[in-house]
Symmetry: C2
């Protein structure tokens, strides 16, 4: 099932004891519809505040569900979550482990003062950004690299931090918004947001373009830029 | 002073006893900065949920304020309000009564299912809309008309309900969003939102294009479409 959601209403995808999560809301809706407890597995366990345009989840069902099942649970979901489509999959399909490629988008709004109508869905950047330098820096990300410099330190101990990025580019949109798109075979915790923080540092001249390959090579989180907030990040799509 | 705000956080512009208002938040910020009580007057007293891209307010000051005064109060305003600019005006300037033209925008998102990331800032319309019919209907709005059919009934008794509309048109934006723009010398309470409700009825075929002039001529609120929600409405700009 493909989900869209406004992450601002949740403390992340993953179910937690005392905070609202997307997983809890979705499991409650499906469980209510099927009249039995259901556990869902998501392609990407988005962090607090992170949105999804095309999150993919799977769950097991004893009975054959109709292909318009998503329509039937939309009325049971909060306004902040929509089920866009669903399909039957093989028993060995796993939304998380069968994923081949994921695409994330990060929206940056360039504004000298705070932007009330953007604040829920963008990172507000008060600096002028050199998009050409940021675009050139994106090229260094593409390929198979050890992205340890862009991973939450406590989550990487001993873990394999090599990932392949297939595409990384920047699009200019209207209203002074730029969107950074990145597609890869997987992402470390906080990886997209710390890459964006680093790109902003390059765009505003704090880092030079040539710093990007050095930061990647350093395999040291302290070398990269800061982790920007979750509200500008969107899980766009998952490919299997 | 020109303000931008997210109306979703307020129960309208106008100060109220028990609900948060834009006026209260702005008056508190300016009063704190000037260290004396200040009352502001707005060009358009936007309703609950209605946003502003370029609301204009005025207030009196005994002292000459710096022209970057707006920067100095931004840090005192909530995230949901930004002061974009300010200038000194003549003593006889009144943000409300000196206004010559106001432009409003109404955003409609065409989506078969609810749209989590749009729901705060658009009206979600599940019907397919005939934009050509809606565009043609816009033409009937332009000119000097008695817009009583589009006014909140209890607000119009004996009052002059004649207004001049200078421009009314529809723009298609990306993500299945259409924006209705209307510029006039003034607007009755709920006028833009009931015009949009009527245009949607024409777009989905509930009303025909030819019904628009009849609805205007009827001067009867019951003939027009329903008042759509405030969250899709933006006060774009005010001209003096």
């Amino acid at each position: 099932m493909v989900l869209q959601y406004d992450g601002g209403d949740f403390n992340g995808f993953q179910r937690q004891r005392s905070h609202p999560s997307v997983q809890q809301a979705v499991e409650e809706a499906i469980s209510l519809k099927l009249q039995r407890p259901v556990t869902v597995v998501a392609a990407g366990r988005t962090d607090a505040g992170v949105h999804a345009l095309g999150q993919v989840i799977h769950f097991d069902s004893d009975s054959l569900l109709p292909t318009d099942f998503h329509y039937r649970i939309n009325s049971l979901l909060p306004d902040s979550i929509a089920a866009l489509s669903c399909e039957r999959v093989d028993d060995d399909f796993n939304a998380r482990f069968s994923a081949k490629r994921k695409t994330y988008r990060y929206d940056i709004c360039m504004s000298k003062i705070h932007a009330p109508l953007m604040r829920r869905y963008c990172h507000i950047c008060v600096y002028d950004l050199d998009l050409d330098a940021m675009r050139a820096a994106c090229a260094y990300l593409v390929g198979e690299h050890d992205f340890r410099s862009f991973a939450l330190s406590e989550s990487v101990k001993e873990k394999n931090t090599v990932r392949t990025v297939y595409d990384a580019h920047i699009e200019e949109r209207d209203n002074s918004i730029i969107s950074f798109y990145i597609t890869g075979n997987g992402f470390l915790h906080n990886m997209v947001r710390s890459i964006v923080g680093t790109l902003i540092d390059i765009g505003r001249g704090r880092f030079s373009l040539g710093d990007m390959p050095c930061i990647i090579d350093a395999k040291d989180r302290r070398r990269a830029g800061k982790t920007v907030s979750g509200c500008g990040l969107y899980l766009v799509s998952v490919e299997y």
